[in-house]
Amino acid sequence: MAETTTLDRPAPPASSGPALLSVRDLQAWYGESHILHGMNFEVRTGEVVTLLGRNGAGKTTTLKSVMGIIGKRTGAINFDGHDISRAASDKIAKRGIAFCPEERGIFASLDVRENLMLPPQVRPGGLSLEQIFELFPNLRERLKSQGTKLSGGEQQMLAIARILRTGARFLMLDEPTEGLAPVIIQQIGHTIARLKKEGFTILLVEQNFRFAATVADRYYVVEHGKIIDGFANAELEANMDKLHTYLGV
Amino acid sequence: MSTITQNSVPAPTTRRPVRDEMIALALMTIVLAIVPFTGVYPFFVMQGLCFALLACAFNLLIGYGGLLSFGHAMFLGTAGYVTAHALKVWDLSPELGILVGTAAALGLSVITGLIAIRRQGIYFAMITLALSQLLYFIYLQAPFTHGEDGIQGIPQGKMFGVIDLQNATTLYFVVLAGFLLGFLIIYRAINSPFGEVLKAIRENEPRAISLGYKTDQYKLLAFILSGTLAGFAGALKVFVAQNASLTDVHWSMSGEIVLMTLVGGLGTVFGPVVGAFVIIAMQQYLAGFGQWVTVIQGVIFVACVLTFRRGIVGEIGHYFKRSL
């Protein structure tokens, strides 16, 4: 198979330390269609790592594979010293991974408080409700509202807020800025920066690399279900031309 | 989500499916035609033919339209009562009796169809079941059905004034002719443009709607055709059983129709015929075992759903990659 230069080297770590998540030769399928063709990447404790790539490149599928909610997957997924490549998604969550899905996944039949309280605590040390309201003051006002009656931005905040309660220290955020107004995007950027400062490890999927640039330590570029490039935030300027080609912007 | 019929064969097969079906049809006709000369109890085969036609009619709806009717006994029973009443009380000739009974099923299927197709899927099944239960209670109280006793001792008469239906062999060929007529109507329907639209609705109703098909009209038409032919089977059965009773309108009969089709193969052309004979034979052999028949039917339901969803004919067709 004629491949373009497949750069599988992990980019230089922004912070030293062992890999919290390491993915080796991950393949995944949606029914009959083969989406991931051997993903290799890792995320170290305390990092914010962003997966960049065009629509349909396999970024969301990667997150879903790590979370264990994809039809079929093979390869090795190691998290915090445990192989989770065959575990059911509730067991994976209990290991301390929290997932914020692309469509936000706010439940219409639950009010805001119920949405917020839904994910069970998997580890001690999650944010308290007070800390969450400090991050997202809007939510306090809307506790009694039906989850899906919130604005898009508020729903996104709720979707992030509810996984901060759980004590999971590794967050996977799928396109948290999609379809949101610039001022809200900024607020989400601040939140991610704040979480990073508090020691959360974050794996981010973004189309909007201008946003990603404000928060990420490292980038991986995904194309056709493979990692084709990777670099640190400091190398972003130098890689701009390449990135434009990859993303077709 | 997989649809309830898994027997649609992948399109590009080397042999044309129609040829396979024609061969199978010819074989079936020959076998059925020589039955009276083999010493097999003709009453059993005639009963089987009536149920086979009934199951085929039911299969038209579920196998090609994706609509599970859990009340098809109402057409069987209604046509049976009307035909029986027409023969016994009105002294109509057999052919007119069949006509009147079938027409009654037609009328009933128009009314119930208009009501039932207003909901889909699981609700459709519950509604048809409830409608048939409504009819059951009506027949339980209506004087002309004679309640628990049913209509007994129905004269078979002479068809068109010459064909003596009291002769078992003659009756057999009349029933066989009726079965083949119904079977061919169904076969023609599923291979017509109408049948294609029906399959399209089963696979993806929103898409069929967006292509401009008035899917409700197609579903209603399928329901009417199915109900009418089920009624035709019920009218024929009157001559075989010489009675019409509440058994034929009871929900357990509707369940048996579902079971026959499931065993034979939902969405196969010949499956319902095979399934009907299998279930009828089983009932015949186990007649002395009381309610164990019910238990075994339940076990077959469970086993079919869990491990044998293609049914007998569906499995055979799948194995040989043929459409049967």
Binding site: - | Q133, W292, G298
Partner: protein, 291 residues
């Protein structure tokens, strides 16, 4: 037309009792459908098992009505959970209709087995001493047991509503009904929740069975026709709302009771006729969302 108040109220009470059973059963069907996407055709058979369970507890172990009220739903609920683990869980991803066919088969097996051993006639189950007799309310004579069935069913229905709509556990259940994959990815054991939900629905059916034992006797086919009426109730009410199921169940029971007084010939069919009318006027059901 002169109205015999005594007789009317008596029929109304019978209607309320039937309404209690409709409510308890349709509530269970709705909860099960929400989580498992299965219409539980075996619900009537499990209701019957609840009544038989009470009968066995009394006649084999000398355990009376009050304990049966707790034990029978637990035992039959456990049986239901076993059924879910061994049979129903294999249906996920298949067309809804397979669930109906499978549970219909299970109903045939259960009812057939009971008929083999107990025939079709009814076995008596006595009203517990504490609930015997009646009260003169001035305008009518109220048999205490009948009043108890209505009141207790109502309490259980409202408790179930509270559990699902107002508690943390209920929030998990509602969320899992909406998006089981995501709920599981939050660390909630959804398969266990599905099993427990089925157990809850089945337990409610069994409870209705125990309540009905002293009134309707204990018969193998006591649930067979009832489940079809309950299906009609579900079609009328829709399965989208818990409170909707409760209200529809009681209301239809009352209407049926009134029909028994004013036009007894139609009392068997009135629920089905109402179903037809509702389908003609509002096809999605009174409280249901369009399917």
């Amino acid at each position: 037309m002169s109205i015999n108040i005594q007789a009317l109220l008596a029929q109304l009470l019978v209607g309320l009792i039937n309404g209690s059973f409709y409510a308890l059963l349709s509530l269970g069907l709705a909860v099960i459908f929400g989580m498992l996407n299965i219409i539980n055709f075996a619900h009537g058979a499990l209701y019957m098992m609840g009544a038989f369970c009470a009968y066995f507890l009394l006649n084999l172990f000398g355990i009376g009505y009050w304990w049966a009220l707790i034990l029978a739903p637990l035992i039959v609920g456990a049986f239901g959970m076993l059924m879910e683990r061994t049979l129903l869980q294999w249906l996920s991803g298949l067309d809804h209709l397979y669930g109906l066919l499978l549970t219909f088969g299970v109903a045939l097996i259960i009812q057939g087995l009971f008929q083999n051993y107990f025939g079709s006639s009814g076995l008596p189950y006595a009203i517990p001493d504490e609930l015997k007799g009646g009260m003169n309310l001035g305008f009518m004579f109220l048999p205490i047991y009948r009043g108890w069935v209505v009141a207790f069913s109502l309490v259980i229905c409202l408790l179930t509503w509270y559990l699902i709509e107002r508690t943390r556990l209920g929030a998990n259940l509602r969320a899992a009904t909406e998006n089981p994959t995501l709920v599981r990815a939050f660390g909630i054991n959804v398969p266990r929740m599905i099993t427990l939900t089925y157990g809850l629905g089945v337990g409610l059916a069994a409870l209705a069975g125990v309540l009905s034992a002293p009134i309707n006797q204990v018969r193998p086919l006591m649930g067979a026709d009832l489940i079809i009426v309950v299906f009609a109730v579900v079609v009328i009410g829709g399965m989208g709302s818990i409170m909707g199921s409760i209200i529809t169940g009681f209301t239809l029971g009352v209407i049926e009771g009134l029909t028994k007084y004013f036009y007894p010939e139609a009392s068997n069919t009135v629920v089905f006729v109402l179903m037809v009318l509702v389908l003609l006027v509002k096809p999605s059901g009174l409280t249901g969302r369009a399917s």
